[in-house]
């Protein structure tokens, strides 16, 4: 029956196909271009002579005997010790996600099941906190952290990222727990469970879809953070994004720009893989807030 409503004249089909193709190029081409270019030398990727050089790579061939080179990656990962930043990012992201989700599920569950007025105020406060530019918070941390001598360490950054993550995690898990019927845990409590037992035995087994979706967004926040990590970590403890930024300051000489390009591609690839596997969850997470709010 919907066939009739969806039937289109051929001109409209052609127009929409062209538009979709155009959008695909706009969205994806910059990344593919940079990935391809990261295997070239600077003379090709930033070619004065002809932009085709970035595709064919004549200068790369002259310098390295082949159209592709791993020079940028070698320089970034080994010479500039990008692997250390990758390791730090791994630590920060892992602990941020785990701690955020633990605190967030408990808090989100409580907010979803309590009918008192203060839950509204807590959620509104969380909304305001979510809107705070992170750098304003960072300017509040720096001085106290210097004084307490906890500036520059990974655990400090992890706790700060967890806290900044909380408003969002609470909102998302709160609306997810609202969609789990109340009867489920109330039945468990009628059977003699305490509230916590009901949570553990009745809710935890069914909450994983919501937790995975929220976890993905916590992951993205921690992985993508630049403001907090660049201000709160020392040079040795730097994570990937601040490290890339520090490459830019010291890459004026020939060839060093490619280190940054290689590092940028290295930072994009995990996201690529993430979207590949979790596309459905990401989409449902993005729309969850919209459908409920």
């Amino acid at each position: 029956m919907s066939n009739l409503a969806n039937k289109k004249p051929p001109s409209l089909v052609a127009l929409s196909t062209v538009f979709v193709l155009f959008w695909l190029v706009v969205a994806a081409f910059p990344f593919l271009w940079t990935m391809w270019g990261s295997f070239k030398v600077e003379g090709d990727f930033f070619s004065r002579a002809d932009w085709m050089n970035a595709i064919t790579g004549p200068v790369t061939e002259r310098q390295h005997g082949g159209p592709f080179t791993l020079d940028g990656y070698r320089g970034a990962w080994i010479e500039q010790e990008f692997w250390r930043a990758v390791l730090n990012t791994g630590i920060v992201v892992f602990f941020t996600v785990v701690i955020s989700l633990t605190l967030g599920t408990l808090g989100g569950y409580a907010l979803a099941r309590s009918g008192f007025k203060y839950t509204f105020w807590l959620l509104m406060a969380a909304l305001v906190f979510r809107a705070m530019p992170h750098v304003t918070l960072v300017s509040g941390y720096l001085l106290p952290f210097f004084q307490m001598n906890i500036w520059g360490y990974l655990p400090t950054t992890i706790i700060v990222l967890v806290a900044i993550n909380q408003p969002f995690t609470l909102w998302m898990l709160h609306s997810f727990f609202l969609s789990i019927p109340k009867d489920l845990d109330e039945a468990a409590m009628v059977d003699g469970c305490t509230r916590f037992q009901a949570f553990r035995l009745a809710i935890i087994p069914v909450m994983w879809p919501g937790v995975v979706t929220t976890g993905l967004f916590s992951f993205l926040l921690a992985y993508n953070d630049f403001t907090v990590t660049s201000m709160l970590l020392t040079q040795e403890n730097a994570t990937m994004i601040p490290k890339i930024n520090s490459f830019l300051g010291s890459t004026q000489e020939e060839g060093k720009v490619m280190y940054a390009v290689a590092a940028v591609v290295s930072a994009i690839v995990p996201l690529f893989v993430l979207i590949l596997f979790f596309q459905r969850q990401i989409v449902s997470g993005l729309t969850a807030g919209a459908v409920k709010g």
Partner: protein
């Protein structure tokens, strides 16, 4: 749920938010009332074989002592808020008193760092947000009409610009618009002007940042609208058709009103996110022609010798006020809805 159980569940989360979001805001408020210590100078006479020289140096030891004693600096009241690099009341008054026409007033206000950042932040927020909603809607409608097989890959590639780190995404574009990069070179060829550079003029830099903003956020609007389109009631669409509504009229009078709540949601999220624009300015090295409030704070904290805590804190407080003004309509609406429900 009784209050006690509620607290038992929520206290870790609450503690984290109070310690690392609420207290820092208070700490920022406190810091904004102080400024850096005056330098303690000592005059020393060094006498050599060729006569004596008077030298003025900073007494490093005394400064360190003073800093340890009063780490926030010396009390300045609201002085930081009104000085030339923040609200600049004196300068504004003078500009209005001595300028001849509107253009001059505008140019001179744009030279004050706070107003320059404020104007860019507001322009970015209120130009990018509607464009994102419009573009996202168009993409969603079009993608909804293509064959099912193509939808998956299209969504996959559409998510990329949004999920990639803003700094990384802006760097990728920055390298492409470099005059030796593909887009930069392409534009030069297109306009036949080999000196054309998107980085040279402030206007072009602003436009570049706006384009980046739309590119970065349109996928979000697209995904939300696309999900909404799946739930548009087919019956209404068909009855509109029976009544003789054209394709455009069906979109205009059925689909758009149905998706209006989603547009409000996207607008809210976008206003919050765009107001804190920061990373693209670093990624595009655009600080010379476009700064935002967040960038000003970052810059103060990154100041060469010692961070300008007072100045950063004052800008932070003003930014927070901005965020609250931005959110007021939303908070009021939520409050009314909540009251209606209970």
């Amino acid at each position: 749920m009784p209050h006690k159980t509620f607290m038992a569940f929520i206290w870790p989360s609450l503690l984290a938010m109070v310690l690392f979001i609420a207290l820092p805001i208070l700490s920022v408020g406190y810091q904004s009332l102080f400024i850096e210590h005056k330098q303690i100078l000592i005059e020393a006479e060094t006498c050599g074989p060729f006569g004596c020289n008077k030298e003025v140096t900073v007494d490093v030891e005394a400064m360190a002592d003073l800093r340890a004693e009063q780490p926030a600096g010396r009390f300045n009241g609201l002085g930081t808020y009104t000085n030339a690099s923040h609200l600049a009341f004196d300068e504004i008054g003078e500009i209005f008193a001595t300028s001849e026409n509107f253009g001059e007033i505008r140019n001179r206000i744009m030279n004050l760092p706070f107003y320059k950042a404020l104007i860019f932040t507001l322009a970015y927020t209120f130009i990018v947000t509607p464009l994102v909603i419009i573009l996202g809607f168009i993409i969603a409608v079009v993608v909804n009409s293509i064959p099912k097989l193509l939808k998956g890959p299209v969504i996959f590639f559409s998510l990329l610009p949004m999920l990639v780190t803003p700094l990384v995404g802006s760097l990728v574009l920055f390298w492409m618009i470099d005059s030796r990069g593909i887009i930069g070179a392409g534009l030069q060829a297109l306009f036949g002007d080999p000196t054309l550079s998107l980085k040279a003029s402030p206007t072009l830099t602003w436009i570049t940042l706006f384009v980046y903003g739309v590119w970065h956020s349109a996928p979000f609007a697209f995904v939300v609208f696309y999900a909404g389109l799946q739930t548009v009631p087919q019956d209404t669409l068909e009855s509109a058709m029976v009544d003789g509504a054209s394709r455009w009229e069906r979109v205009r009078f059925v689909t758009i009103p149905y998706l209006m709540p989603l547009a409000t949601f996207i607008a809210l999220m976008q206003l919050m996110d765009n107001f804190r624009i920061f990373e693209p300015i670093i990624g595009f090295s655009a600080a010379a022609s476009a700064t935002s409030l967040s960038y000003l704070i970052y810059n103060d904290l990154r100041a060469a010798e010692s961070p300008l805590f007072g100045s950063a804190a004052a800008t932070s407080m003003l930014t927070i006020v901005g965020v609250i003004i931005l959110l007021l309509p939303v908070l009021r609406r939520n409050w009314r809805e909540f009251n209606r429900k209970t």
